[in-house]
């Protein structure tokens, strides 16, 4: 392999290596600093200008977006046309004009197709132009489009599962901030998962989006001895209200197959094996007012889910109404001399109410893949995955009604700065998961009896423990030591150390 030229001096090697990453990093840093300084200066100038002239009558004669060659003009016009003074009957004050334009710029930002920051320049049109009036200003928005193709591959591990994934994101496909995301992953538990979704803002509004998607996946559910194969499609309408609450209205059609049962599968799982189609409408509402979703110290979080499947024109093979609510609240604990202690508490509850399919007089009892499951590192810690609730043999069957709670006390770690995302925690979690009462004469009696059992029959299943929390920006990692205190016979508590990863943890 010895190349005489190469061994002589390493100029080629250097060239082949490309730019030294350190130098590149340095360059990037400098550029960022420069950009930032420029931006700061522009902002200051703008601030002064506005302060001095805030009541100056102003008309916006033109808005120019520079640096968006791949974005459709008509798409941008829908954002900025309403701001133009031609479309207003009275002139703005300068302050108003700036505010309106900032709202437009903020919309651009939230479309997720431009790099931040978006710079804003004001200019006066040349006086020589006879068509202008003295109050006219021109607006220039300088943007830089984000890369239109993003390909990510990687591996991850957590919650007893390892996987490899590829993610392809195409941005701004038709110049209207439309995106296509294609995901493929192979893993130990989620054997394979492929999904694709196309998302587009409606009427150039970043707060109102439409998504169309489809998936094909196959997941091993070892806690109930089967593999679930899913094939389906959905369409979602997402709306972000000005006060920050998110609404999502979706229609899902999913073909589920319970297959590849393990030899020890219980009769209940064997009974539920096979195909079913779920056709459902869901509404999700989320309001997150926490200061940090992964490690909250203050604020509340509320999420509600309503799902209606198989009812009336929805048809399909399963019919039920499902409702679920989740809340979390966090507050700092003021202890003199000890900073950074916080207390969080969370509560989740859900009910699955079987309905009757078209032309059937009696409601169909729920299936294993529609029922709730409970237990595991992201909800009731100190129990195995799906460790709570009814069990047939070694299989977790899930339940139709549940509640779960968690109270956590978070302490800073001695000699670790407060702003690092590490904390100690002590927790008590618990809950109950039940099937509707089979013996009830009608649906309401079945639910009523189950509610009585849920809250009336002794203590909930409870575990307590201590652990270490690491709040990564995208997920929370926990290493806990826990012991079950109260269980139902057959429920799978977990004694000792366990590791958990979750995006939304109770």
């Amino acid at each position: 392999m010895a190349d005489p030229l190469d061994s002589g001096d390493d100029i080629f090697g250097k060239l082949q290596k490309g730019v030294d990453p350190k130098i590149q990093e340095e360059k990037d840093k400098l550029r960022n600093e420069r950009e930032h300084a420029q931006y700061e200066k522009a902002r200051r100038r703008l601030g002064e200008l506005i302060q001095d002239n805030s009541t100056l009558p102003t008309t916006i004669s033109s808005i120019r977006v520079i640096g968006a060659p791949n974005t459709r003009k008509s798409f941008l016009e829908r954002i900025f046309n309403p701001i133009l003074s031609v479309n207003h009957d009275r002139p703005y004050t300068l302050a108003e004009a700036i505010r309106e334009v900032s709202i437009g710029a903020d919309k651009l930002n939230r479309l997720d197709i431009f790099h931040e920051p978006i710079s804003l320049y004001l200019d006066r049109p040349p006086k020589t132009d006879p068509s202008t009036t003295p109050t006219d200003i021109d607006i220039y928005l300088t943007v830089r489009e984000k890369s239109r193709i993003l390909l990510k591959t990687g591996t991850s591990a957590g919650n007893g599962e390892g996987e490899a994934y590829t993610n392809l994101l195409l941005r701004n496909i038709f110049g209207g901030a439309e995106s296509l995301s294609v995901n493929a992953s192979l893993g130990t538990r989620t054997r394979s998962a492929y999904s694709a979704s196309f998302e587009s803002p409606i009427l150039s509004n970043p707060s109102l989006r439409l998504e169309l998607g489809g998936l094909a996946s196959s997941t091993q559910k070892t806690w109930s001895s089967h593999e679930e194969v899913l094939r389906g499609a959905w369409t979602k309408l997402r709306y972000l209200t000005p006060n920050g609450s998110k609404h999502e209205l979706a229609y899902n059609a999913i073909w589920r197959q319970i297959t590849s049962l393990s030899p020890s599968a219980s009769p209940t799982v064997r009974h539920d094996a096979g195909d079913s189609l779920k056709s459902s409408l869901t509404h999700t509402w989320t309001l997150d007012l926490r200061d940090n979703p992964m490690l909250p110290t203050r604020g509340t979080y509320t999420r509600s889910l309503l799902e209606l499947a198989g009812w009336g024109p929805l048809v399909g093979d399963v019919a039920f109404a499902k409702t679920e609510i989740e809340t979390q609240a966090a507050t700092p604990v003021p202890i003199p001399g000890l900073n950074g202690i916080s207390f969080t508490t969370g509560l989740r509850a859900g009910l699955l109410y079987p309905l009757s399919l078209n032309r059937e007089s009696k409601p169909r009892p729920s299936r294993i893949n529609d029922r709730f499951s409970l237990g595991g590192p992201t909800d009731v810690r100190g129990f195995r995955l799906s460790g709570l609730g009814p069990r047939d043999g070694s299989d977790a069957l899930g339940g139709d009604i549940y509640y779960a709670f968690s109270t956590n006390l978070l302490f800073p770690i001695p000699r670790v700065p407060l702003d690092t995302p590490f904390r100690f925690q002590a927790f008590i979690t618990g809950g109950r998961l039940l099937a509707l009462d089979k013996k009830g004469a009608n649906q309401n009696e079945k639910v009523g009896n189950a509610v009585r059992e849920l809250v009336g029959n002794g203590w909930p299943s409870v575990a307590a423990g201590v652990g270490l929390v690491y709040a990564h920006p995208v997920a929370r990692f926990e290493l806990n030591f826990s012991l079950p205190l109260v269980v139902r016979r057959g429920e799978w508590g977990r004694k000792g150390v366990s590791f958990g990863v979750g995006i939304s943890m109770l």
Binding site: P263, S264, R364, R494, K495, G496
Partner: protein, 337 residues
């Protein structure tokens, strides 16, 4: 998966003895006795188990045969419309094994195909589950069950030979452990069995799944419609089913020769008719055996007018042999009415 169950059971309310060997083989990880004693105190309180959901398996105290049948058919114990299932359903009836039938599908089976049998559970607790008996093992299981029953009745030890003598059909099937016999009668038996397993089965597969008239009239309402109400899913399942049938047929010869397949089944019925002769059951037995069950599985399915066959090519081939038709009626009346 069993591995998972093992490790998981360590944390269960009631640890199973199975989990222990793990701890022994890893001396590094054994918990010190005082800590273990402390851990054993947890959970501090255990309530009775949760009730099972409504949609669960019934008849846990009985033997349950999972097979292809309608919900109504399962309830009334009607013969299955699937020859593979009916063979064992009939066999269990011939052997006087009490059982109930449940309508199911291939996904539920331990080996991916129906039928299978879930023996009666000896304990009332849902935490104790018997293991399923797949179709290949039903004969063996039946022999064991009969032997146990006999053993209980007169507590005399029946020799294995006597048992086998009682089941002439069973003796020589390739399903029994030692199929390496060279008895001429056994070879003949296997030759006849292969007529059923190949020629008649091929014609049956072709006529049910690939002959368009029958697929829409018989296979679709029996095998696909009960799985789902959704049209797209049904189409997908229908496609899978037909592709599987085609694959099964092309496994034996690369090209599907329809005429040859039908002629093969006609000849096979002729041979089976000749073998039966004027006897009530095959091999001159007083009671039907596994071979009778195998023949009945096809003849009953083909002659069942309720199934609504539209393409009668195979059925007509069978009807020409009146002793086969009578054989089917004899079994039906004796065991299914």
């Amino acid at each position: 998966m069993p591995q998972d169950a093992n490790t998981a059971s360590q944390g269960k309310a009631q640890p199973r003895p199975k989990a222990r060997p793990n701890a022994v083989s890893w001396p590094l990880f054994t918990t010190p006795q005082p800590i273990k004693r402390l851990f054993d105190k947890f959970p501090l309180y255990t309530y009775p188990p949760n009730e099972l959901p409504e949609r669960t398996a019934q008849h846990r105290d009985q033997n349950v045969l999972y097979l292809f049948t309608g919900d109504d058919g399962a309830h009334r114990g009607l013969p299955s419309f699937n020859p593979g299932c009916l063979k064992w359903q009939a066999y269990l009836k011939f052997r006087n094994i009490p059982f109930v039938t449940v309508s199911s599908n291939n996904h539920a089976s331990p080996n991916g195909a129906l039928p299978f049998l879930l023996p009666a559970s000896s304990s009332a607790s849902p935490l104790d589950v018997p293991s399923p008996v797949s179709s290949q093992r039903i004969q063996r299981w039946t022999q064991d069950t009969i032997a146990k029953r006999k053993g209980k009745k007169n507590s005399s030890n029946l020799s294995n030979e006597e048992l086998k003598h009682e089941e002439p059909g069973a003796e020589a099937t390739p399903l029994t452990e030692d199929s390496t016999r060279s008895d001429p009668s056994d070879m003949r038996y296997e030759a006849y069995l292969s007529l059923l397993d190949h020629r008649i089965r091929n014609a049956y597969l072709y006529s049910l799944y690939l002959a368009p008239l029958n697929f829409n009239a018989v296979a679709f309402p029996l095998y696909i419609a009960p799985s789902t109400t959704n049209t797209l899913v049904r189409l997908s399942l229908a496609h899978q089913l037909r592709a599987a049938a085609e694959g099964e047929l092309t496994k034996q010869s690369p090209r599907i020769d329809v005429e040859a397949i039908y002629q093969g089944s006609d000849k096979a019925f002729g041979a089976l008719s000749e073998l039966l002769g004027d006897e009530d059951y095959y091999f001159g037995e007083r009671k039907p055996g596994l071979f009778d069950a195998s023949v009945f599985a096809y003849t009953n399915t083909l002659l069942d007018e309720d199934l609504g066959w539209r393409d009668f090519r195979v059925v007509d081939g069978l009807r020409r042999y009146s002793n086969l038709v009578e054989h089917r009626e004899r079994i039906f009346e004796a065991y299914f009415e």
